[in-house]
Amino acid sequence: MADDRKLSEEKRANLISELTEEILDTAASIAEPEEDNENLANMIQDIRERLSFEVNVLLNEAVTKLSPRKALERIAEVPKRTFQRFGINFRAQHTLMFVSVIILIITGMPLKFPQLGISKFIIVDLMGGLENSTLVHRVGAVGLIIVGVWHLGYIAFSRVGRRDFFLMIPRPRDIRDFFRTLLFFFGRRASGPKFGRFSFIEKFDYWAVYWGMVIMIGSGIIMWFKEWFPKYLYDIGREAHSDEGLLATLAIVIWHFYNVHLNPDVFPMSWVWWHGKLNEDEMKHHHPLEYAEIVEAESREIIEEKDRVADTGSGDA
């Protein structure tokens, strides 16, 4: 991509020097009284067209940078092959989840810190009072509960979901990977461990959400339907909801936002949540074992296909 940009910059530089020459020529021709006006008009028209072309190129680049659709098209243009990491079902779950969680954090966190000015701003000025914000919080809660049930169905009934769930189960290898990563960080190893489809970090993220969902939905239901429970359980539920909510918010802001927003590799945002694709480089870098498996499986298929063709060929002969 860097090469592409360089190319277009060269092209632009050329165009600008051409334009400059033409402007100088035009100036010279104006100085000559015998040049006719028609020639001049043509030249001005020409300059105008070239200028508008230049502006278009600039605008196009800006739009491509900002628009996810154009970004997708650009990725599609890249001749390298892509790998579909997350299917549409999984991406939809994630989208519903983050929309719900953002709603829940905005309407929930102010209740943990009611003295703060920003809390009062959000609840009183933005939401128009606690009566409204608690209602919005319940809407977010329903969203989160739906995601929870949906995901349980997904890992039970979808083939991909089931496969991914089993790959998510922590193994001794993950502990080893963790310590290898630390050794790598301390410079005791030249490279970090090689990961399969899910690294130990991703497994941690996944199970952290599991834990969080159980605590938040469980304690939330106790508070929502407090008439079904004794007071001390309500008190425990409220404390747990409040503290786990803070933990979840901090984890999302410090851990997850770094992964998908602040990390220099993906800044300002990784688009994987939207298109679910990794390119070959990313695949090799982040999930080398999975990449190796895929490539091996494919080459095996190709070899088998060749053998089959060869077999049938010899059979014919």
């Binding site: 102010p110 209740l111 009611p114 003295q115 809390s119 009062k120 609840i123 009183v124 009072g129 606690l130 009566e131 630390l182 790598f184 960080f185 301390f186 410079g187 407090k226 008439e227 429970f229 004794p230 007071k231 001390y232 359980l233 309500y234 008190d235 425990i236 409220r238 404390e239 747990a240 503290d243 786990e244 803070l246 933990l247 901090l250 984890a251 410090i254 851990w255 770094y258 220099p264």
Partner: protein
């Protein structure tokens, strides 16, 4: 408040009428014309240096029928030097008696010319009956008279015991002041209704209507039912028993700046109640002296009710919602709203669906206190859990970042 006729002893009243009649008869022997020779509006009088009397004003005053020397003590031998003495007390004995004992008299020692006399408030030749709408001492106008001196910075500097300017003026924006001055509701109290008029006393005088133990009765002259409730309540009985720290009306409602309880500026507006109660119930002095529980306000603020109040939700329970307003009793008292026999009804005011089990659960518990049971341990767990995890996240990121920088180099 309805203006109550002053309780007068019949004998005094008869005496007063008699005196007036006698005075009028005696002076009717043409004394006025003598005075007006110099003090009137004739050519001759204008030439003299004597102060002139505007007869038009005098004619419409309540004293129009009186003669000059009914009020002015004239000593003809001294060519009435010292005629400044105005002799209102000759007829208005009660008022004069009360005035003679009021702090206004004491103030003469500091600065006599700044101290009000009868004329300062009632006017001179233009004096009108107190129930005349135009009288300076009319219920509604009397406020202006008091404020004129008591909001004067110059006078305040001379008399140190006076309250800061602004405190009294706050009355004009209070629920009482607005009712009287703006809405023209003559039942609303003016200064004199709480403080007394001629015989007013400072608040530290046990006879003053605004002495702490007498305030509830003073307010009760209009708010009788509430005073009845209060006098029987824990706060009322404690104060009557001599506990000076126990609050009376003004401790919760404010004084000059008192507002209706539905007004967000009111000290007893729903979301301001915890703050008002905390003046005593979170005060080391009061809590320590009477062995009260010190954490009541803090635990309330921690509760969901407290969070709601903090975020301005007026429908959320404040202290008074559960403990009562004027009818606060100790929890052990069967009349208390939080007594076991009443607690279900009390919670039921907002939470109809809460089962008995729930409402009998402990309240005013704090997760910071071991005795609160489960939620204490939940909080302890999360303090450690959050600290360790977040530290872990940050350390991991820092290490990763350092390694990345190293690789780039």
């Amino acid at each position: 408040m309805a203006r109550r006729p002053t309780k007068m002893v019949w004998g005094k009243m008869v005496l007063r009428v008699l005196l007036t009649v006698i005075c009028a008869t005696v002076s009717a022997w043409g004394a006025r014309d003598d005075c007006l020779r110099c003090h009137g509006e004739s050519q001759e009088a204008r030439a003299s240096e004597a102060p002139q009397v505007n007869l038009d004003i005098l004619q419409v005053s309540i004293h129009a029928q009186l003669e000059c020397n009914d009020c002015h003590s004239v000593n003809s031998e001294l060519r009435h030097a010292g005629a400044g003495d105005v002799l209102c007390g000759r007829c208005h004995m009660d008022a004069a008696e009360g005035y003679a004992e009021s702090p206004h008299i004491e103030g003469r020692e500091v600065s006599a010319e700044d101290i009000p006399t009868c004329v300062t408030c009632h006017g001179g030749h233009d004096v009108l009956a107190v129930n005349d709408p135009d009288a300076s001492t009319n219920h509604r106008n009397s406020v202006t008279i008091c404020i004129r001196c008591h909001e004067d910075q110059r006078i305040k500097e001379k008399f140190e015991i006076l309250p800061e300017p602004g405190m009294i003026k706050a009355y004009e924006n209070s629920v009482h002041g607005r009712a009287l001055l703006i809405d023209g509701n003559l039942d609303a109290p003016a200064c004199v209704d709480c403080h007394g008029s001629h015989s007013f006393k400072p608040s530290d005088d046990p006879e003053s209507p605004i002495y702490k133990t007498r305030i509830s009765n003073t307010c009760g002259s209009c708010h009788a039912a509430i005073t009845g409730q209060y006098n029987e309540s824990l706060h009322g009985t404690a104060l009557a028993a001599g506990v000076q720290e126990s609050p009376t009306c003004t401790n919760c409602h404010g004084e000059h700046d008192i507002q209706a309880h539905g007004d967000p500026k009111s000290k007893v507006y729903s979301s301001n109640v915890p703050k008002t109660c905390s003046d005593c119930h979170a005060s080391e002095l009061v809590v320590g002296k009477f062995g009260l529980k010190a954490d009541r306000i803090a635990t309330f603020n921690e509760s969901f009710h407290g969070v709601g109040i903090e975020l301005g939700a007026s429908k959320f329970a404040n202290c008074a919602s559960c403990h009562g307003v004027h009818n606060i009793y100790p929890q052990s008292d069967r009349r208390s709203l939080i007594n076991a026999v009443n607690i279900e009804t009390t919670c039921g005011k907002c939470h109809e669906d809460l089962p008995e089990d729930f409402v009998r659960g402990a309240v005013h518990t704090s997760a910071k206190d071991k005795s609160s049971g489960g939620k204490f341990y939940v909080r302890q767990f999360y303090i450690w859990f959050i600290t360790i995890l977040i530290l872990g996240f940050v350390i991991y990121r820092v290490l990763e970042y350092k390694r990345r920088v190293k690789r780039v180099q």
